[in-house]
C-alpha cells in the first residue's frame, strides 16, 4: 500500500516538473518579458535593471529552480496585460470557476450514472433508444454551440433564465459565492448544464457499455441462477463491478470539466479563470498562461491520485493479497 502510494506520488511530481519545464520555457523563449513589461521606448539601462531584478541574467538552471520554487508558493509574477500579480488575478476568479465546475460535475456524474444504468438494464426499450439518440447528439455537439443554443432558447426566446454573468455574489472572507442568492443560482443553471452535458453523455455511455459487459459475465449469470432478484443482481452485483473501471474515467472527466470551463465561461461571460486564460492566449500574456497551465496540471494530478486511491479502496483484488492460488 505504502509502496503503491509513494510510486504514485513520485509519478505525480514528475508530471508536475515536466509541466513546470514547459511553463518555464514559455517564459523564457516565447517573447521577451522585459520588452513586454517595459514597452519599446524603455532605455537600455532600465531594461538591464529589470532583467537583473527578474533574475533573467542568471544561468538557465538557476532560473528554472527559481521558477519551480516560486510556483510551489503560487507565485507566477506579473501579468503582462493587466500589470497585476497573476496569483491575485487567479484567486479572485477561482471561486466562480470551482462553483461552476463542481455543480456541473455533480450533475454529470449523478445523471450519467443513473441514465447509464437505466439504458443498460432497459436495453432496447423506446425510452432507452430516445436517450441514446439524444446522447449521440450530445457527444457530437461542440460545448459552445450547446451553450449558445440554450441561451437562445431559455434566455432570449423564453426569458426564463439569465443569459450571462454570475448574478448576485456574496462575499465569504476570501471566497465569493453565487450559491446563496436566487439570482446566483438562476445564473448557474444554464452554464452548469452546458458544461456538464458532454461529460454526462460520456459517463452515461461508458456506464451503459460497462454495465452491459458486466451483465454478460458468468458471475452475474450465476447470481441470477442463485435466485437473486433482478434488482439485487443489477444494483448490487452488476453496479459495483461496473463502477470500478468507470471511476477512472469519471475522475479524468472531472479534470476535463475544469478545462472545458474555458469555453462555457466565454459563452456565458462567466467571471472565472477560464475566461482569464482565453484573454491571456489572445494577448500572449505568458505569466497567466503559465500559471493556468500549472494550476490545471495540479488539478489533474491530484484527481489522478485520488482516483488511484479510490480504486484501491473499492477493489479487494488490489487491497487484499491473494491466499491459496
Amino acid at each position: 500500500m505504502l509502496a503503491f502510494l509513494i510510486q504514485r506520488v513520485l509519478q505525480a511530481i514528475f508530471v508536475m516538473l515536466v509541466v513546470a519545464l514547459i511553463a518555464f520555457s514559455l517564459f523564457h523563449y516565447v517573447g521577451d518579458p522585459v520588452l513586454n513589461m517595459l514597452g519599446q521606448e524603455a532605455s537600455e539601462a532600465d531594461r538591464a535593471e529589470l532583467r537583473a531584478q527578474l533574475g533573467l541574467d542568471r544561468p538557465v538552471v538557476v532560473q528554472f529552480w527559481q521558477f519551480v520554487a516560486n510556483a510551489a508558493r503560487f507565485e507566477f509574477g506579473i501579468s503582462y496585460r493587466s500589470a497585476r500579480p497573476v496569483t491575485e488575478l487567479i484567486a479572485e476568479r477561482l471561486p466562480a470557476t470551482l462553483e461552476l465546475a463542481v455543480i456541473s460535475a455533480i450533475f454529470a456524474v449523478v445523471m450519467g450514472i443513473v441514465l447509464g444504468i437505466y439504458t443498460a438494464i432497459r436495453r432496447g426499450s423506446w425510452l432507452s433508444n430516445v436517450i441514446m439518440t439524444v446522447s449521440l447528439i450530445g457527444v457530437s455537439l461542440p460545448t459552445f454551440l450547446i451553450g449558445v443554443l440554450l441561451i437562445y432558447l431559455f434566455a432570449v426566446e423564453l426569458g426564463w433564465l439569465p443569459a450571462f454573468g454570475r448574478g448576485e455574489v456574496v462575499e465569504l472572507g476570501w471566497w465569493n459565492t453565487g450559491l446563496l442568492t436566487a439570482s446566483g443560482l438562476r445564473s448557474l443553471i444554464l452554464p452548469a448544464i452546458t458544461l456538464g452535458l458532454f461529460q454526462l453523455t460520456l459517463i452515461m455511455r461508458l456506464v451503459r457499455a460497462e454495465m452491459l459487459e458486466v451483465l454478460r459475465t458468468d458471475y452475474i449469470k450465476f447470481a441470477r441462477a442463485r435466485g437473486l432478484s433482478r434488482r439485487v443482481v443489477n444494483l448490487r452485483h452488476a453496479l459495483k463491478n461496473t463502477l470500478i473501471p468507470v471511476i477512472t474515467i469519471i475522475g479524468l472527466q472531472l479534470g476535463t470539466i475544469i478545462a472545458f470551463a474555458i469555453i462555457t465561461e466565454t459563452v456565458f461571460q462567466w467571471p472565472g479563470v477560464g475566461a482569464l486564460f482565453i484573454t491571456a492566449v489572445r494577448f500572449v500574456d505568458i505569466p497567466v498562461m503559465a500559471a493556468y497551465l500549472m494550476m490545471i496540471a495540479l488539478v489533474f494530478v491530484v484527481i489522478n491520485l485520488v482516483v488511484d486511491l479510490l480504486y484501491y479502496a473499492v477493489d479487494p483484488r488490489l487491497r487484499v493479497q491473494g491466499g491459496a492460488r
Binding site: 509541466v19 517573447g31 457530437s140 454551440l145 432570449v156 466565454t266 482565453i278 497551465l293
Partner: protein, 321 residues
C-alpha cells in the same frame, strides 16, 4: 509429398473469384449501411455538405470575403426576403455587413472542413511516424515519445490546442497573425491530437515486428526503412483509419471551438465557429438568423460526420465498441 503437390496443381480451378465490386457489395459494410437509415441519412448529409463546401464558389450567390460584392444597405435582411433596396434575394438572411448568410455558411464550412481534414492528416502522419519509430526501434526513442504522449494525454486536447496556439502566436510577429491563422490552427489542432495515432501504431507495430514475415525480411537483409514502409505500415493502417474517421469530427469541432473563442479564424475569413461567435452578438437584438443558421450547419455537419465515424468504427473494428 510430391504427390500432394501434384494433385493440388492438377485440381481444377475453383469457380472464378467474384469481382471486386461484387465482393464489396456483398460485404458486411454495405449490408450494415443498408440496414441503418440513420447512417444512410448521415452519409447523404455529409456528402451534400462536402459538395457544398467544395463547390461554394459556384453555388454561393456571392463571395462573402469580397467587400466589393457586399451591400451595406442590405444589412440585417431577414431570411427568405428580397432586399427592398437592391432587390437581392437572401435565402438565409444577411448579416451586419450585408453579407449573405447562406454564402457565408458555404464558405465557412469550406474553411472548417479544410482545417479539419488538414489537422487530421497532420496528426495522422505525425502520430503514425512517431508510433512506427517508437514501436520499431524501441529503447530511449520509445521511452521519450511515450512519456511525452502520457503527459500530453493528461490534458484535454482542446486545452493543448489553445496552448499550442498561444505559443505559436507568441513566437510569430503580431503582424503575421491574421495571414497564417489557418496554418496555426491546423498545426495546433494536429499537434494536440497525434497521441492516439502514435499509441495505436506503436502497439500494432510491436505486434507486427515479431511476426515471422518481418523476421524473415530482416534475415534476408532488407533495410529497416523498406521493412517499415512495405511490410509494417500497411498492417497498422486499419486502426489509424478508424481513429482518423472519428478524429475528423473532433477536429471540426475543435476548429469551431477555437474560432468561437476568438483565437481561431479571424472575422475577415470566417469559419463556421467564427460565424457563430459573430452571430452571438445579434442574438439579443432579434437578428436570430445570423447565429442560428451557422449553428445549425455546424450541428448537422458535426453530427453526421460523427455518426459516420462511429458507424465505420463499429463495422471496421467490432472490438473497439
Amino acid at each position: 509429398m510430391s504427390r500432394d503437390v501434384k494433385s493440388t496443381v492438377e485440381s481444377p480451378p475453383a469457380s472464378p473469384p467474384p469481382g471486386r465490386l461484387r465482393t464489396f457489395l456483398d460485404s458486411d459494410i454495405v449490408y450494415s449501411w443498408q440496414r441503418q437509415p440513420v447512417v444512410i441519412a448521415a452519409t447523404l448529409v455529409t456528402l451534400a455538405m462536402f459538395a457544398g463546401a467544395l463547390f461554394a464558389p459556384w453555388i454561393a450567390p456571392q463571395n462573402p470575403f469580397d467587400p466589393g460584392q457586399l451591400d451595406l444597405i442590405d444589412a440585417f435582411t431577414p431570411p427568405l426576403t428580397r432586399s427592398e433596396f437592391t432587390g437581392t434575394f437572401y435565402l438565409l438572411g444577411s448579416d451586419s455587413q450585408g453579407r449573405d448568410v447562406f454564402s457565408a455558411i458555404l464558405y465557412g464550412s469550406r474553411i472548417s472542413l479544410l482545417v479539419g481534414f488538414a489537422a487530421v492528416l497532420f496528426a495522422l502522419v505525425l502520430g503514425t511516424a512517431l508510433g512506427l519509430l517508437a514501436g520499431f526501434r524501441g529503447g530511449w526513442r520509445d521511452a521519450l515519445i511515450m512519456r511525452v504522449a502520457d503527459v500530453q494525454l493528461t490534458f484535454p486536447s482542446i486545452l493543448m490546442a489553445l496552448l499550442i496556439f498561444g505559443v505559436i502566436r507568441g513566437l510569430l510577429p503580431r503582424s503575421m497573425h491574421a495571414e497564417v491563422a489557418i496554418i496555426v490552427l491546423i498545426v495546433a489542432i494536429g499537434l494536440s491530437d497525434w497521441v492516439q495515432y502514435a499509441r495505436a501504431v506503436r502497439g500494432a507495430t510491436m505486434v507486427e515486428k515479431h511476426k515471422e514475415y518481418v523476421q524473415a525480411a530482416r534475415v534476408i537483409g532488407l533495410p529497416d526503412g523498406r521493412i517499415l514502409f512495405q511490410h509494417i505500415l500497411p498492417n497498422v493502417l486499419r486502426p489509424v483509419l478508424v481513429i482518423g474517421t472519428i478524429g475528423l469530427a473532433l477536429a471540426i469541432i475543435a476548429e469551431a471551438t477555437l474560432s468561437f473563442l476568438g483565437v481561431g479564424m479571424p472575422a475577415t475569413q470566417p469559419s463556421l465557429g467564427t460565424l457563430i461567435r459573430v452571430g452571438q452578438d445579434y442574438m439579443f437584438s432579434g437578428e436570430w438568423w445570423i447565429l442560428l443558421f451557422p449553428g445549425v450547419a455546424l450541428l448537422v455537419l458535426a453530427l453526421s460526420v460523427n455518426l459516420l465515424g462511429d458507424w465505420l468504427r463499429d463495422v471496421l473494428n467490432p472490438k473497439l465498441r
